[in-house]
Symmetry: none
Subunit: 220 residues, 2 copies
Amino acid sequence: MQKKTIMIIDDDVYIGDMLQELLEKNGYATARAYSGTEALYAVQNARPDLILLDLMLPGLSGEDLLPKIQNIPVIIVSAKVDIEGKVNLLLSGAVDYVTKPFDIKELLARIKIHLRDNVRHGDKIEFDGISVDLSTYGVSVNNTPIKLTKTEFAILYTLIQNPNKVFSKDSIMTQIEDLTPDCEESSLRTHIANLRTKLKAVNNKDYIQAIWGIGYKLKS
Amino acid sequence: MQKKTIMIIDDDVYIGDMLQELLEKNGYATARAYSGTEALYAVQNARPDLILLDLMLPGLSGEDLLPKIQNIPVIIVSAKVDIEGKVNLLLSGAVDYVTKPFDIKELLARIKIHLRDNVRHGDKIEFDGISVDLSTYGVSVNNTPIKLTKTEFAILYTLIQNPNKVFSKDSIMTQIEDLTPDCEESSLRTHIANLRTKLKAVNNKDYIQAIWGIGYKLKS
DNA sequence: ATGGTATTTCAAAGATACTTCAAAATCTAG
DNA sequence: CTAGATTTTGAAGTATCTTTGAAATACCAT
């Protein structure tokens, strides 16, 4: 899988370097910007997957920059006093914030959440046109509702937690064993086949890919 | 329109304050409770339209509090919930959950959804042509009054709290057990059937849908 | 290429859950 | 106490889901 790019917008070189090193050690590509005005330009060029934004910036301030960034998740990284009006920040486009000095693990965890390739709205998860809602047991593909049995639902729900991740047959069976305690591999194969057919019926796309000798994954 | 009241049940003052500020900026009235036991009392007094509930509470835990809250949509706000736990929470009355750290916009979106599912005027709830009035025990479909037994009323009243949400048979039986303490599954099935028939008589629409192996829901 | 193995597909049998129905038991109002 | 309404129960019928196994196909290594 291709590396995700995270842009660090901070005029403090020391902190910026530290963040950059941290992120690269954790498998992300990075880009930097040191002022608000520069950032505005750099975002267009680098097209990062996520932005870490310091509020205290020379030139255009972080608060002013924020509304100009569209469609890229922004995490505010700033001193606590700056974040007094945090609600306003969240309303003007930030997806999250962490205060300096920050906990490294927490920052990484939040980055991970906002980089997910599936989208969660509470009990509803969406991925590449598939929507799965746990509270209504409703599933739709491209907004067309489809009807699944509870086992098929459980399998899809398992796979969509981590799109593109390969699940072994055993791990899938473990996940759904509360529902179907005596589900053998042969049954699972049939359930997968049925699930495939139902998903495919909408837009003729085969979402479920078999990884030979390993298991299955939900592919985009 | 009158402001909707949202009750925040969380012992973490920092998070609670943040939520309160956020909600009030978005036009909601708020109420607070800081422990499970306090919440139990406060819910009766404030009669909120929706509740945000943290699971880790001093005194009565969130899991224990949940079944005691009736007829008010509850969104679980908690650090970690596994899939197994989610299903149990949803089946025991929660309408949704968000995990910390959460995305503010998603939380607001979820709140909005659960506040508008059905329309409440005091004791009266309406959904898709069905009107249920708790104070008079009156029910009508497309303005045609129909006569329900008190058990049928209780079942419908449970379902209409959260249209489209699936209720397990157990959770329905729990909701109505004050009226009918020894209601077995077979009885419930008959009540559902009778309720169906009466609702259907007006406009030939089947409002109650069985989700095979899971439970029932009121569908639009 | 060829053999061995894994996956896909298919149909049918088996298991389970739901609906309907009628009768018995219980409750309630007068 | 009685009549009517409500609730419970169980059984028959129906619909749906799950499992199974065998045949066909696809994949991998030698």
